[in-house]
Each structure stands twice: as structure tokens, then as C-alpha cells.
């Protein structure tokens, strides 16, 4: 395996109708054998980017390089890339076997080889013995497996998946997430998945590109994305986060001095200066009845507002004297109800570690 990335997207833009910039100067690299996710809200350009990889859209400018070859203008049927469509697109008038065999037939493989590879692919997606079924005799989950087998049987260098789990019910979706990860490890093919569901991307992908308004906001592994978001959009899009507006000046040594209402002046690790947001995830916030003395934390007084009980944790909104309340996910570590219950109006000290505080530009 070479270290050369399997997909290189270089300065790619796609402009629809002369004005609508669906994808705006995107640069991306996908490594060989990686499970890569394109994540973003609807209309962020992730699907357009995927369609450019598949060949259904031609970049307005820029290059799409797959396996060292410029594919920007190559027809979809001539690319070493296969796709699992959002609707699965299982051919309704063909049996499962015929569906899976279709791509190999187009490649004019010998009949014997087609038979063997189809059987193997069906086995891989746990549909062995279903070959003679018609698509209308199968459930949505099974049809998706047919679509997967049909794409994988061609042994593409890259498999594209367009919102593959969006049409499944919650339970099946979770099972299929694990299944896709297992499948990707088994076949070793690079997977590129498009999704708007962050939990899907976080749980499956090795690396995620977060997109917004046609541009890539951050490319990072799930943990980095969650713990060290590059900007406000990523921080806000992935998970929940509290943001307190403030002003920052450089303090040298990779640190900034931030002044914010209620919190006052605090020196934190970071590089952004000027108008910034102090950001902290709700699960990193603790409560105490007495003022914490640890100098490594930021502590403010908060009055309990709304409380939502989720069993393993409670989502509590504290009024800390700012326009936006501070939300904290308090783990319900005790089974003593008295101890874990929050009542509106109660006052607590709310605190979190300085090292858990992000300074976002």
C-alpha cells in the first residue's frame, strides 16, 4: 500500500446555473483504506462533492484525482468508483442475483466468474441464499445490502455511500452502522460516506470533513472534531456547546487573555484574538454548593432554570446572568433521588476546567 492518497480533490468548485456556488474551492485528501465522512447540514455541498467523485457532476474547475489519475471529466461508467445510492436504486425488475451481477456483466466478465463473485458478494453482506428473490420480496434493510453487494462486487478502489442509513428505522440504523464498519474492515476498500447525522459520522468514520456553505470547515478524526473544533460552526454543529462572547488578546506562548462578562479575565490556551467565544461542552461542567477553590477552573454562580431528566444524566440550564443560559449535562451518579434532583430557582456554583475551555474565533 502506497502512502499516496487515493482521492485528491484540488481546488474544486461547482457552480450551478452560473451563480449558485454549491462547492467552493474545496481541497481534500482521502487516504487509502480510510472510512471517510462528509458531514454537514443539508445544502452544504456534500452531496454535490460526492456526485463529482462518482462522475454525475463535472467540476466547474479544479481536479478530482483518483488513484493518481485525473477523473474530473471521465464518464461515471469508466471510473473505479461505485456508489450506494440513497434510495438504494435496486433494479426492481431484476432478481437479487441479476442486480449484483449487472456491473460484472457490463464489464463482460465470464459467466463462471460472475456466478462466483456474486455468490461471494451476497455472502459478504449476509444475503447468501437470497439470490433468486425479487426486490419487492425484501425489506428496506435487505435491499440496502443488495445495493452494497452490487457495488462491492466490482471491487472498486472507492465506495461512495450517499446517506446510506437515512431510510432505516433507528434500531436497524445502529446495527447497520456496525455492519458498515465491519464490512469496510473486511474488504479494505476506501469508503466515503455522506451524512447529515453527526452521530453516524462520529461512530463510523476514521476522519470527517465538516462542510458548510460549500466549503470545508475542518477535516479531523472524530475525537479532534469534538474536543478541538476549529471554529464556531464546527463546535456548534457537532454536539452541544455553550458559548460565551468575549474579547481576546495574545498573551504569548500559545496563550490568550480573554475578558468576558461574568467570568472576568482569564488566560487560556488558544490562538484566536479579537472577538471570540469561550466554548465549553455541557458534559464538562460540574456543580457544587460551595465555591470551588481550585485555581485551574472557571466558576460562576448559576440559578437553576429548566431541567430535562434523561435517566443517566440531566440536562440543566443555569442562568448565570448572561443572555444565553449555560447548559450542563450532569451525570446522575447517585441513586439517591434527593441528591440528584434539581429544582428551578436553586443556586449553585457552576464550574469547569480551564483546559476544557475552547477559545473560538
Amino acid at each position: 500500500m502506497s502512502d499516496e492518497p487515493i482521492i485528491q480533490i484540488k481546488n474544486v468548485s461547482k457552480i450551478f446555473g452560473g451563480t449558485v456556488k454549491a462547492v467552493d474551492e474545496v481541497n481534500l485528501e482521502v487516504k487509502r483504506g480510510e472510512f471517510f465522512a462528509l458531514l454537514g447540514p443539508s445544502g452544504c455541498g456534500k452531496t454535490t462533492l460526492l456526485r463529482m467523485l462518482a462522475g454525475f457532476e463535472v467540476p466547474t474547475h479544479g481536479q478530482v484525482i483518483v488513484d493518481g489519475q485525473d477523473m474530473s471529466k471521465v464518464q461515471p461508467n469508466k471510473r473505479p468508483i461505485n456508489m450506494v445510492f440513497q434510495s438504494y436504486a435496486v433494479f426492481p425488475h431484476m432478481s437479487v442475483e441479476q442486480n449484483v451481477a449487472y456491473g460484472l456483466k457490463m464489464d463482460r466478465r465470464p459467466a463462471k466468474e460472475i456466478r462466483e463473485r456474486v455468490a461471494e458478494a451476497l455472502e459478504l453482506v449476509k444475503l447468501g441464499g437470497y439470490g433468486k428473490r425479487m426486490p419487492d420480496e425484501m425489506s428496506g434493510g435487505q435491499r440496502q445490502r443488495v445495493a452494497l453487494a452490487r457495488a462491492l462486487v466490482k471491487r472498486p478502489s472507492v465506495l461512495l455511500l450517499d446517506e446510506p442509513l437515512s431510510a432505516l428505522d433507528a434500531k436497524l440504523r445502529e446495527a447497520m452502522q456496525l455492519e458498515l464498519v465491519r464490512l469496510q474492515k473486511t474488504v479494505g476498500i476506501t469508503f466515503v460516506i455522506v451524512t447529515h447525522d453527526q452521530s453516524e459520522a462520529l461512530s463510523m468514520a476514521n476522519r470527517i470533513a465538516v462542510m458548510n456553505a460549500g466549503t470545508v470547515q475542518q477535516v479531523a478524526p472524530p475525537t479532534t472534531l469534538y474536543e478541538q473544533p476549529a471554529n464556531r460552526f464546527v463546535a456548534d454543529f457537532i454536539g452541544k456547546i455553550n458559548m460565551i462572547e468575549g474579547d481576546a488578546v495574545a498573551a504569548g506562548d500559545g496563550q490568550v487573555k480573554v475578558t468576558a462578562p461574568v467570568i472576568g479575565e482569564v488566560t487560556l490556551a488558544g490562538t484566536a484574538t479579537g472577538k471570540v467565544a469561550l466554548a465549553v461542552r455541557p458534559e464538562k461542567i460540574f456543580v457544587s454548593e460551595t465555591k470551588p477553590t481550585d485555581p485551574a477552573v472557571i466558576a460562576v454562580k448559576g440559578k437553576v432554570g429548566e431541567v430535562a431528566y434523561f435517566g443517566s444524566y440531566s440536562n440543566v440550564f443555569f442562568d448565570i446572568g448572561l443572555p444565553a443560559p449555560l447548559q450542563a449535562d450532569i451525570s446522575n451518579v447517585s441513586s439517591d433521588i434527593e441528591e440528584i434532583i434539581f429544582t428551578a430557582g436553586e443556586e449553585y456554583w457552576v464550574y469547569w476546567r480551564k483546559s476544557d475551555t475552547l477559545v473560538l474565533g
Binding site: 454525475f56 461505485n82 436504486a89 457490463m106 425479487m134 452490487r150
Partner: protein, 284 residues
């Protein structure tokens, strides 16, 4: 029971079948729709030349019908024309529908409207136009069979293929374009996508379009009347000329045969379509 007691079984809000006026409308509609047809069929077995009063059952007129050489010739002509019309209309209609569905081109809306013209133009005008047109360009007449039917066939194709195109176009609206993209993705070129994926989806539309073209052509009188010559008489035109002398049970018998033929073809087409729909609808 006092007169103030409620009707023990009042007509419910959805009990349409129990409302008098609705029943009356349905009855009258069915009567005017089917009574003439039933009468026609019944009187084809009437043992009377003048065919006004019932004089007993006979199948003589069917025997006579099949021995009537001129009528059989007209029947053969009609079937031949209908067959060619069906074939060409379906293919042309399918291609037209595909182009309109698949591609965008300048003047598409105008073309789409123009294509539907034969449907809205009064048939008599189409007939006259066709007659004048074939005379003007000097379309050869007196050719050997079946070439002598070419003018009628061309006229029939011209007015029936838009019907086929509209039906097939409607069917294509329900096509999931991802199916075509998926086939492309799996290595098919445009032609294979059309052949392997689009045509199978079109099939119910193709059958419906073919059926429309067949029946339109088989029973067309007006346009045929203007484009046919003395040696190219079709079944409806022949029946018309027979009626001008007298309405004999033979005319009834001929009409009954035509009805039967249409019914058989329609039933066959519907059967095929149902089977296809069952497969097609499973896609989503």
C-alpha cells in the same frame, strides 16, 4: 312504534349506494352506455333481413359475414393497418417521451405543445389535411397490397403516436432517476441504461400506448375515409357503406366481431400491464 321514532337504519354519511339520486344517475348512465351495445349484439342473431323486430335466433349472418369477401378484405386491411400503426406509434411515442423526459433543449415547450396538436385538432380537419397532403405530393396509388395501405397507415401513425407518447411520458414521471445513475455507475453506457433500466420501467406505458394506438387505428373512420381509395377500404369504412343501404343483421354481426376483437386485445394488454405494475411498484 310512534311516527316520531327515528329510522332504525339511517343512511350513513358514506352510504352513497343507498341514496336514491345517486342510484338513479348510475342506472341511467349504465343504461345509455350499454343498452345500445347489448341491443346491437342481440340483434346480430336476429333472423330478419330488415332487422327491426325480433324474428327468432340465427347465426346465419355470421356465416354470411365470413363469406362476404369484400368485408373480409376490409377486415384484413384494418388489421394490417392497425398492426403497423401500433408498432410505429409505440416506438415513435416511446422515443418522443424519452427525449422529452431525459433532455432539455431550446424550444422544448413549443415542441411538446405542437406534438399534442393531433390530439386536439378536430379529426375532420386532420382527415382533409391528410387527403390534400397526399394528393399534393402525389403519393403513389394503386400499389400492390399491402403497400397500397401506406397512406392510411402513415395518417394513422401521425395522429396516434402523440397519444402513445403522452401515456409513456406519464409513466416515465414515476421513474427513479437514481436507477439510471446507478446503472451508469455500474458500468453501463447511455444505450444500455435505456435498454436495461428505462425500457423495463416504461413497459406498462408501452403496453397502454400500443393498445391506444391499436384501437384508435382499428376503429378510425373519419381520417381513414379521407385517405382511403376504392381498393383500400377498411372495416369501419366498409360498415359505413353497408349501412347506407340498410342496417341488416350482418352489419350488427360485423360490429360485434369488432367489439369482441377490441375486448380481447384490451383484456390481454391489461393482464400484461397488471403483471408489470406489480413488479414496477416494488421499486420504491
Amino acid at each position: 312504534m310512534s311516527i316520531f321514532s327515528r329510522n332504525p337504519d339511517p343512511i350513513g354519511p358514506l352510504d352513497y349506494a343507498r341514496r336514491f339520486w345517486l342510484r338513479a344517475i348510475v342506472a341511467v348512465t349504465l343504461f345509455f352506455l350499454y343498452a345500445p351495445i347489448v341491443g346491437l349484439i342481440v340483434f346480430s342473431f336476429n333472423d330478419s333481413r330488415r332487422n327491426i323486430v325480433w324474428r327468432g335466433f340465427t347465426t346465419d349472418y355470421y356465416v354470411k359475414l365470413f363469406n362476404n369477401e369484400a368485408l373480409m378484405l376490409a377486415f384484413g386491411n384494418s388489421l394490417t393497418i392497425a398492426l403497423f400503426t401500433t408498432l410505429f406509434s409505440t416506438v415513435l411515442g416511446a422515443l418522443t417521451a424519452y427525449v422529452l423526459w431525459r433532455y432539455r433543449f431550446p424550444g422544448k415547450a413549443i415542441y411538446e405543445g405542437g406534438m399534442a396538436l393531433p390530439i386536439v385538432i378536430p379529426e375532420i380537419c386532420m382527415g382533409v389535411a391528410m387527403m390534400v397532403f397526399f394528393a399534393r405530393i402525389g403519393w403513389p396509388s394503386g400499389m400492390p397490397w399491402p403497400l397500397n395501405l401506406s397512406a392510411i397507415t402513415i395518417a394513422h401513425i401521425a395522429f396516434s403516436f402523440p397519444f402513445a407518447a403522452i401515456v409513456i411520458r406519464a409513466r416515465l414521471e414515476s421513474f427513479n432517476r437514481e436507477l439510471a445513475e446507478c446503472a451508469r455507475d455500474l458500468g453501463a453506457n447511455e444505450y444500455r441504461v435505456f435498454r436495461d433500466i428505462v425500457v423495463p420501467h416504461m413497459k406498462p406505458g408501452l403496453i397502454a400506448g400500443a393498445l391506444l394506438a391499436f384501437t384508435l387505428s382499428l376503429d378510425d373512420f373519419v381520417i381513414t375515409f379521407f385517405t382511403s381509395g376504392p381498393d383500400t377500404v377498411t372495416f369501419p369504412v366498409k360498415i359505413y357503406s353497408m349501412v347506407r343501404f340498410s342496417v341488416t343483421p350482418e352489419v350488427n354481426a360485423a360490429s360485434t366481431v369488432l367489439i369482441l376483437l377490441t375486448l380481447v386485445v384490451t383484456a390481454f394488454a391489461l393482464r400484461m400491464q397488471n403483471r408489470n405494475n406489480m413488479i414496477g411498484n416494488a421499486a420504491h
